[in-house]
């Protein structure tokens, strides 16, 4: 890694400004030497805020990360359609994150229906994973549910329900190929939910993490990505004195070293247990210690509290030679490259010397207090392992060859089927005192699906109604719950049976479901019943609404000659078709609920 990168990282502070700056600098640096990887994030909330932190934390780990954030809450729309932006570039990792409130509005309240909700959740997530697998070989990380920041009472059943949901996710990951659990719940516990959340961000923007949470999740995601693409280090080389036991064997004698169930011996005993756990996972252990070999052998054989055995160590360099020579000979003896070795020694001097002489070796910054030894090794990320075995890696390639994916393609679920199963109900009404606040809010805030971006104030709205404008709102609900009021249409009458759409907008919460078409269809029905023959639609471009540039022509409108951005439809000849899978509930058309 270049010197420049080292500078950038050493100046990094835990603040948005510092990370944004670092992200810019990294972008302008030569990123050769970093591995290029591509991540797609699909979430039920806007997650884009973590993008620069992800960028920096990945660069720190030797990864140049391309990041794609899908429009929020459009899992099925993105995953089931081969031409969606999700598949626009080949992805190496896809991260799925669900906020429980967004994913299933009723879940936390549905004690009586818990089994049903859990089943729905399982079916839905399975569907999303299988959908992804049809078109992508990416690794899939599925986040589980952390504790929400608010739970009504101490012994509520919410907690148990949440745990069961997490078991569902965990089981799914075990079953599926190349799908791994992203333990978000654990991460939030580590940080502490009081520090993780910023309630303001939740209420203002439905963002489920404050800055601390954003930074922590970015680091953790970067860590997972690194663990997926880089192999863990192969061998941990440890010192003995004040590392595997308290005290110095050669000076204190076998009976005086600290190792046992009482303090301070228990700290070292626990550390030995941790090393044994690493060894069982496949990591080689080695000793590099300045000691008498007979004394050490005696300690391993005769000390009753030794957890580790002589045989647990693949190589032992116990002599009075310097550590760098020991490390080199361990490397040669085991046939392991220097860059796969990790060195753990309580002496700062020894560590500094090894860092200087053999910079390829990973040197753990061993803390002064032995109680933190395990943390030091864990936090080094050197032995992170997600793919548990070579067999697992083999299975993925065998799967690809066997055409199992073809079988999935045949049983394909399509976006349309998903939309049908949503059982979307659209209700439309006329502006009144109960709805005016929400309507005004939508007018003020909606940017993307907004044809004209006219920011009428509440006062202007009232005046427009007094002058004859019709203001309609749209409310949407589906099997997952009630989305509330999400759409607004304002129409004004011009000359002779010509009406104009002054405003037509939809909250981004409900995009990707053709609701806009249904809303437009009912609007046309309503206007026709009120004597309209022609309906004019306008598109006024803004920096955010380019996605609706073809909305009117796509809905059957024709361009008006010499008036770019103006469209017209003859209601007596043509109507915007209403999508079949959307049911219309209460609406102001005098014919009652249409089908």
């Amino acid at each position: 890694m270049s010197i420049r990168f080292d500078e950038i990282f050493s100046q990094l502070e835990p603040s948005p400004g510092s990370y944004l700056n670092a992200s810019k600098k990294i972008s302008s640096e030569n990123v050769e030497g970093l591995r290029n990887l591509n991540l797609a994030v699909l979430s039920s909330f806007t997650a884009e805020i973590i993008s620069p932190y992800l960028h920096v934390e990945c660069a720190r780990r030797g990864i140049h990360l391309e990041r794609y954030f899908g429009p929020y809450n459009q899992f099925e729309q993105l995953v089931f359609s081969q031409t969606s932006a999700l598949y626009g570039e080949p992805r190496d990792v896809v991260l799925l994150m669900f906020s429980i409130e967004d994913f299933s509005y009723s879940f936390l309240n549905s004690f009586s229906d818990a089994e049903n909700e859990l089943d729905l959740m399982k079916v839905r997530i399975t569907g999303i994973i299988e959908g992804l697998r049809r078109f992508s070989d990416a690794y899939i990380l599925v986040a589980n549910f952390p504790e929400p920041f608010f739970r009504p009472d101490i012994s509520s059943q919410h907690g148990a329900l949440l745990q069961r949901a997490n078991v569902v996710i965990s089981d799914l990951c075990k079953r599926e190929l190349g799908v791994y659990l992203f333990d978000l719940s654990r991460l939030v516990s580590e940080v502490g939910s009081n520090r993780w959340y910023d309630r303001r961000l939740h209420y203002i923007a439905r963002v489920p993490f404050g800055f601390e949470g954003q930074l922590a999740i970015s680091k953790r995601i970067a860590r997972y990505i690194r663990a997926l693409f880089f192999p863990p280090s192969k061998c941990l080389i440890v010192d003995l004195d004040n590392t595997l036991w308290g005290g110095v064997l050669g000076e204190d004698g076998l009976s005086q070293i600290q190792l046992g169930d009482a303090h301070p011996g228990n700290v070292y005993k626990e550390f030995q247990r941790y090393l044994l756990f690493l060894q069982k996972r496949g990591i080689l252990l080695a000793i590099a210690s300045r000691n008498n070999e007979e004394d050490v052998l005696e300690a391993f054989i005769h000390h009753p509290e030794m957890i580790l055995k002589w045989e647990n160590f693949a190589a032992k360099k116990i002599s009075w030679q310097d550590k760098t020579s020991s490390i080199r000979s361990i490397s040669a003896e085991l046939g392991i490259g220097l860059d796969s070795l990790v060195f753990f020694d309580d002496s700062a001097l020894e560590r500094a010397w090894v860092e200087k002489e053999i910079p390829e070796v990973k040197v753990i910054q061993v803390p002064r207090d032995a109680v933190h030894f395990v943390d030091a090794i864990e936090n080094s990320e050197a032995f992170d392992q997600i793919i548990s075995s070579p067999e697992d890696a083999n299975r993925v390639s065998m799967y690809q060859q066997s055409g199992a994916r073809e079988a999935l393609r045949l049983n394909a679920i399509s976006v349309d089927k998903f939309l049908e199963e949503l059982e979307i109900l659209l209700e439309i009404g006329l502006l009144d005192s109960m709805t005016i606040q929400r309507v005004a809010q939508l007018i003020a805030k909606t940017n993307q699906f907004n044809l004209t971006t006219r920011r009428h104030s509440i006062v202007t709205l009232q005046r427009m109604v007094e002058e004859g404008a019709h203001v309609l709102w749209a409310r949407v609900s589906d099997t997952f719950g009630d989305n509330g009021l999400v759409g607004v249409a304002i129409v004004t009458s011009e000359k002779l049976q010509h009406w104009r759409i002054d405003t037509f907008l939809l909250s981004c919460r409900v995009l990707g479901r053709k609701i806009e078409k249904a809303f437009l269809a009912v609007l046309q029905e309503y206007l026709a019943q009120n004597g309209a023959s022609y309906l004019i639609g306008e598109y006024i471009p803004s920096s955010k609404n380019s996605q609706v540039v073809t909305f009117y022509p796509d809905s059957g409108f024709d361009p008006i000659e010499d008036s770019p951005g103006q469209w017209i439809i003859n209601l007596e000849r043509k109507r915007t078709p209403k999508p079949d899978f959307i049911r219309i509930g209460k609406n102001p058309c005098s014919v009652g609920s249409t089908k």
Partner: protein, 78 residues
């Protein structure tokens, strides 16, 4: 205090300090979108050791209003 605010805005949104005025608002600055606004709030809170309420966050939509609010909050502490 004005200088520090202008510096933060300049750094976060990549515009020169001399282009910033009291009336500067999200509409005038390309990177001052809703995401940028949240980051600006967090940066200001850190810099001045103040805390905005959720409502204040959504109302501080011009450099002038930010200056006034920070001034009030800082004085209240003293």
């Amino acid at each position: 205090m004005q200088r520090r605010i202008y510096q933060i805005i300049s750094q976060l949104f990549g515009i020169p300090e001399d282009q910033i005025k009291d009336t500067t608002a999200p509409g005038d600055v390309p990177n001052w979108d809703s995401l940028g606004h949240l980051n600006l709030i967090l940066a200001l809170e850190r810099e001045f050791d103040v805390s905005f309420t959720a409502e204040e966050v959504t109302q501080l939509l011009s450099v002038g209003s930010i200056k006034t609010k920070i001034s009030t909050l800082s004085n209240a502490v003293e």
